[in-house]
Amino acid sequence: MSIGLEQYLLLSAVLFTIGLVGALSKRNAIIVLMCIEIMLNAVNLTLVAFYRYGGLDITGMVFALFVMLVAAAEVALGLAIVFSLYRSRETVDLAEMDLMKW
């Protein structure tokens, strides 16, 4: 059984779904950030698979590179926000963060 584009895409879909479910259902803000990283990795995997098997040329890799760049920025900022919240509220529980409520 040879490996092709479909296998990589399926793996990527599974990974993305795991990340999505986790991001929506976990209460710990840091875990949610981790799940978002998993989702981003799933996307990167897709991009690189498309580079390898056609569809996207070298651009696929370039995009993956930029996603990493943005992911690094995102996690840095996200953690800064979590820290800031933790400092003022002594918790990282997202269920208690409802300041934007009516």
């Binding site: 879909a13 999505l20 981790m34 370039v62 930029f66 992911a71 840095a76 800064a80 990282v92």
Partner: protein, 165 residues
């Protein structure tokens, strides 16, 4: 089964297991460690796809920077003893996830892909470098903007986290 297939299945199994572990196990610190494992697996998968430069960057950025940062955050927030509880949304989220996975899988299995699987992967680091830094058709301007965004993020993070007087 050739070597790539073996590598793929091993890495895929490792990746799915560690990703599930991140979501499912209650210990936050261990979840962080499993995340690092998942990052390694993705780096390996990149390599099987001939993107060895990206694999290296994956290890450096995700494992070295993001993973460590997350673990540091977990330790600094001292919230470990609360574990990793789910919220009221876990059931609808799972249903949504299943539907999404089903939909995506169905559509990608029913699509005819231009598969170039026959060729052996060739390391493309030089081609990637040329593509990014090429002055005519390259991505030099987005790269600079990305650099600027990183700078902004660093400043922003300092402002957010820095001690308030």
């Amino acid at each position: 089964m050739d070597l790539q297939a073996v590598a793929f299945y091993v890495l895929a199994a490792m990746l799915v297991v560690s990703a599930l572990a991140v979501v499912l196990i209650p210990n936050v610190f261990r979840a962080g460690l499993f995340l690092v494992l998942a990052f390694f697996a993705v780096a390996g998968l990149f390599t099987t796809l001939g993107a060895d430069f990206l694999g290296a960057v994956q290890v450096l950025v995700y494992v070295g920077a993001i993973g460590v940062l997350l673990l540091l955050a977990i330790m600094l927030t001292r919230d470990v003893h609360h574990g990793s509880p789910g919220n009221r949304l876990w059931l609808p989220a799972s249903v949504l996830g299943a539907l999404l996975l089903g939909g995506v899988s169905w559509s990608l299995l029913n699509t005819t892909w231009a598969d170039k699987a026959a060729e052996m992967p060739v390391p493309a680091t030089a081609a990637l470098g040329t593509s990014v830094f090429d002055l005519q058709n390259g991505f030099i301007l987005p790269l600079e903007i990305g650099a600027l965004a990183l700078l902004a993020v660093v400043i922003g993070a300092i402002v957010l986290v820095g001690e308030k007087k």
